[in-house]
């Protein structure tokens, strides 16, 4: 008697899927670089505070202000004598948090709206897509600025505002993919064997839309981090949390440009660029790995 496939083989299947995914992914140089960058910053976010003396990010009145990098203060100090390296390390957490949290919100809204509009079609589709179009054309930064200004500066509000303003593109992509999956014969077959709408959505549509969701979410995370930086720079950031954007905000406000304090301006900016690049690389790589274009038929 064969033993049940359900219990023990699911694990084998998962392993097999992961292995075949990794086999393709690791051939993608861009994806690997992105993964390395993100691993580095994730480690920095968790372990950084133990490796670097973050207590030096204080106003102690002892440390020299606006000092270029020296031993002990490897990235120099700001106008209040705080250690910039410590600031950068602390800021990592906020940036990653904003990226992941806002992307999750955006993905959830976008996926639900996209799949519902695509699968049910008709009036639901028309209404939802009109709504999505509005969010797509509204100039994004003015909207976010207005909302952030009205809600007040806090990290939660920033995540919320970025999350609920950045889903429109995702919804469009998910909808068009849902529409195309819906027309495939295997969905018709599922209907022909008596499956319900929910079953079809969960078993057939969602798994085939998922690759797009992954890739898209990661790209949205990159945009969310950029947005947080921009918002903070424009003075809408959370003054109680230190983030790369806030550091740049203070630097700009306190005349780092005129004072030629490049050590204050460069490190947070470079960190933003690296993290955004990391996410973007992974997003592009996933897009390539998970959605292989159909190969040509006859060679």
């Amino acid at each position: 008697m064969p033993s049940s496939v359900y219990s023990k083989d699911n694990l084998r299947l998962l392993k097999k899927n992961l292995r075949s995914f990794w086999d393709i992914y690791r051939q993608n140089t861009m994806g690997l670089i992105g993964l390395c960058i993100l691993c580095f910053f994730t480690l920095l976010a968790f372990l950084g505070p133990r490796l670097v003396d973050v207590t030096t990010y204080v106003v102690d009145g002892v440390t020299q202000t606006m000092h270029p990098p020296v031993s002990g203060y490897w990235l120099g100090t700001d106008n209040l004598g705080r250690d910039i390296l410590a600031g950068v390390v602390i800021g990592t957490q906020v940036s990653l948090l904003v990226g992941v949290a806002a992307a999750t919100i955006s993905m959830t809204i976008g996926t639900v709206i996209g799949i519902v509009a695509g699968f049910y079609g008709k009036l639901a589709d028309k209404l939802l897509m009109r709504f999505t179009d509005v969010f797509l054309v509204i100039p994004w930064l003015p909207l976010v600025l207005a909302m952030a200004a009205l809600l007040g500066p806090s990290l939660g509000n920033i995540i919320f505002v970025i999350g609920i303003t950045s889903w429109a593109g995702t919804a469009r992509i998910i909808r068009s993919q849902t529409l195309s999956v819906k027309e495939r014969p295997y969905v018709e077959r599922a209907r022909a064997i008596g499956s319900s709408g929910t079953h079809i959505m969960l078993r057939h549509i969602l798994p085939n839309v998922f690759p797009l969701i992954y890739a898209n979410t990661i790209l949205v995370a990159a945009i969310a981090i950029l947005s947080e930086t921009t918002l903070s720079f424009l003075g809408m950031g959370d003054p109680t949390r230190i983030s790369w954007g806030m550091m740049l905000h203070y630097a700009y406000e306190m005349g780092a440009v005129i004072s030629r304090a490049w050590w204050w301006l460069l490190p947070p900016g470079i960190c933003v660029v690296l993290v955004v690049l990391g996410f973007t690389f992974i997003g592009f790589a996933l897009d390539e790995v998970l959605n292989p274009k159909l190969r040509r038929r006859d060679r």
Binding site: Q27, R296, R297, D298, R299
Partner: protein, 319 residues
């Protein structure tokens, strides 16, 4: 001297995992005004072989060897410049055209005029007149030259393709599955048109297809490809009535003949080999019902079964 002579043409595709040996040691011969059918199943290398003639292959393809000559002139070492002059002027191709072989944002007439202007150096006006003439030749209303491809039906689009192919009076026309994806009746119309033009213009034609009947009805000679190699070639009647290679025999047996008895043939067991790592010896031996000793070790050489009818099978050497 033949119109076209191809010797030992070998083309590989480079992949990360290695080389796909898509087409190996292909020998072909085409006389003036003759139609040759190149038959094979999907991925048997027939399109690769044809596109190798004028080097229209994807970037990862490498033509490893082969001598190609048109009327005795060797073009296998031609540079891009010379190849450009050969393309369409001497060898024109009709692609499997359903939707995508014509540029969607340019008028069909302009696409034909372009070929005329490149190769015949015709002034615009004359080229337009000639295009209208060509449209009449393929039985389309010449007023439609100013329309876009999406305004034509599938069959009409294929006629446009044909008009474009014969525009410069090429010596050789290659039809790459020209009727696949068309309805049966339209398919017959298109084949009839091709046949008519070939006779009128005395062109040599290579018809690439997976459909034996297309070859049977329109070609003088046939070459059967399997897994990148030509396994049998000869005059169509001889090959179809007296197939020498087990693969050809199986294919012909699988073809429903409405004039005969209703009979479901045995299918060939297994699948075509992976050309990244093809089996040693005869490429067909794993699926063959009559293997003998050398089949799995040695490549079979072509044996002349009767005049002009060659087949590559170890069994034939035994006879």
């Amino acid at each position: 001297m033949s119109l076209l002579e191809v010797e030992n043409l070998t083309t590989y595709y480079k992949l990360k995992e290695g080389y796909v040996r898509a087409c190996e040691n292909v020998n072909l011969k085409l006389e003036k005004g003759e139609a040759l059918g190149l038959v094979g199943e999907s991925a048997s290398g027939k399109t690769t072989a044809a596109l190798s003639l004028v080097k229209l292959l994807p970037d990862n393809a490498e033509v490893r060897a082969g001598k190609i000559s048109i009327e005795g002139r060797d073009i296998s070492r031609a540079m891009e410049d010379e190849l450009r002059r050969i393309r369409w002027k001497e060898i024109a191709i009709i692609f499997q055209g359903a939707m995508n072989a014509l540029n969607p944002v340019r008028r069909v007439g302009d696409q034909i005029v372009e070929a005329l202007r490149i190769h015949e150096k015709m002034p615009e006006k004359e080229a337009c007149l000639r295009t209208a003439e060509l449209f009449e030749q393929v039985e389309i209303d010449p007023d439609r030259v100013r329309e876009y491809p999406h305004e034509f039906s599938g069959g009409m689009r294929q006629r446009v393709m044909i008009a474009m192919a014969v525009a410069c009076n090429p010596k050789i026309v290659i039809g790459d599955e020209p009727t696949t994806a068309l309805d049966v009746m339209v398919q017959a119309q298109v084949l009839q048109l091709l046949e008519k033009l070939r006779r009128e213009l005395q062109m040599g034609m290579i018809l690439i297809t997976h459909d034996l009947s297309v070859v049977g009805e329109t070609c003088d000679r046939v070459a059967v490809m399997y897994a990148g190699r030509i396994v049998e070639t000869g005059p169509t009647e001889k090959v179809f009535e007296n197939p020498a290679h087990p693969y050809t025999r199986a294919l012909i047996a699988a073809f429903p003949n409405i004039e005969g008895k209703r009979y479901l043939a045995q299918s060939i067991p297994g699948n075509p080999p992976n050309l990244l790592n093809p089996p040693a010896g005869c490429r067909f031996h794993e699926r063959c019902s009559q293997i003998i000793g050398p089949c799995s070790e040695k490549d079979p050489t072509a044996v002349e079964v009767s005049t002009g009818h060659m087949a590559s099978c170890h069994l034939l050497g035994r006879l």
